[in-house]
């Protein structure tokens, strides 16, 4: 296929410079065509880089330490009615947590992050379960175990204790 049938009449047109280049004289930094072999090399390099990234991520997962938190008071027991929840942050301000008062003396606490993709869970008293609205994950209200939905691991549990009428967070279970 010829690019310009009238190129013989055009003194500016040469084989080295097609006519479209004369009309649009802009050049990119890397304008050369990429051969299939080069493309295969780029793909292989990309695959290698991702493999290195996976190994790095595995090493990071292995080496990182999880902050289980220091004991600290959360809220006075009388401020949380039976069957009600209370939101707090534990162990750091970036970790949303929630506690549920089960009866006069028992309280349970969980990380509020769904173990599927990290959405915030909330308590459904009529079903006595924690519900994640993102992908319909459900966890048991008192144990945090998975009831249904895509999550495969239970909610992160926070050890709580009632001391002198105050609910204390003692640490996050790992």
């Amino acid at each position: 296929m010829t690019q310009d049938s009238g190129s013989a009449d055009d003194p500016l047109h040469t084989e080295a410079e097609p006519i479209w280049k004369r009309d649009f004289p802009y050049e990119a930094a890397e304008e050369e065509e990429v051969t299939r072999r080069e493309f295969a090399r780029y793909l292989t390099l990309g695959i290698g880089a991702m493999a290195a990234g996976s190994v790095g991520l595995a090493a990071w997962t292995q080496l990182r330490t999880i902050n289980t938190g220091e004991p600290r008071p959360v809220v006075a027991l009388h401020r949380v009615a039976i069957g009600e929840t209370f939101l707090f942050d534990y162990p750091t301000p970036q970790d949303p947590a929630v506690l549920l008062r089960l009866d006069d003396t028992r309280v349970v606490g969980f990380s509020q992050k769904c173990t599927h993709l990290g959405c915030v869970v909330y308590f459904e008293p009529e079903e006595s379960r924690w519900h994640c609205p993102c992908h319909e994950g459900n966890f048991d209200g008192s144990s945090g175990e998975v009831l249904s939905g895509p999550p495969t691991s239970p909610l992160g549990k926070i050890e709580l204790e009632v001391r002198d009428g105050t609910i204390w967070a003692l640490g996050r279970e790992v």
Partner: protein, 68 residues
């Protein structure tokens, strides 16, 4: 175009398709590794890394095959 050239082109295309499949699988593995990291699942993270490295070796073998 000679028969040898056509055969080489077909081989290159076949290897390219194979590499693209490997790349797709690798992208999937990265998401699995990310999930393993978020859930602190060490065994899953290492298993993913091992499969990922095997895929990288396979890709390198393909590239070496292309050079011959």
């Amino acid at each position: 175009m000679t028969e040898v050239t056509v055969a080489r082109r077909r081989t290159t295309s076949a290897v390219l398709i194979y590499l693209i499949v490997l790349m797709s699988f690798q992208i999937f593995l990265v998401t699995v590794a990310d999930q393993a990291f978020m859930t602190a699942s060490k065994s899953l993270a290492w298993a993913t890394a091992a499969v990922s490295v095997v895929l990288a070796f396979l890709a390198a073998l393909c590239l070496r095959f292309l050079r011959h």
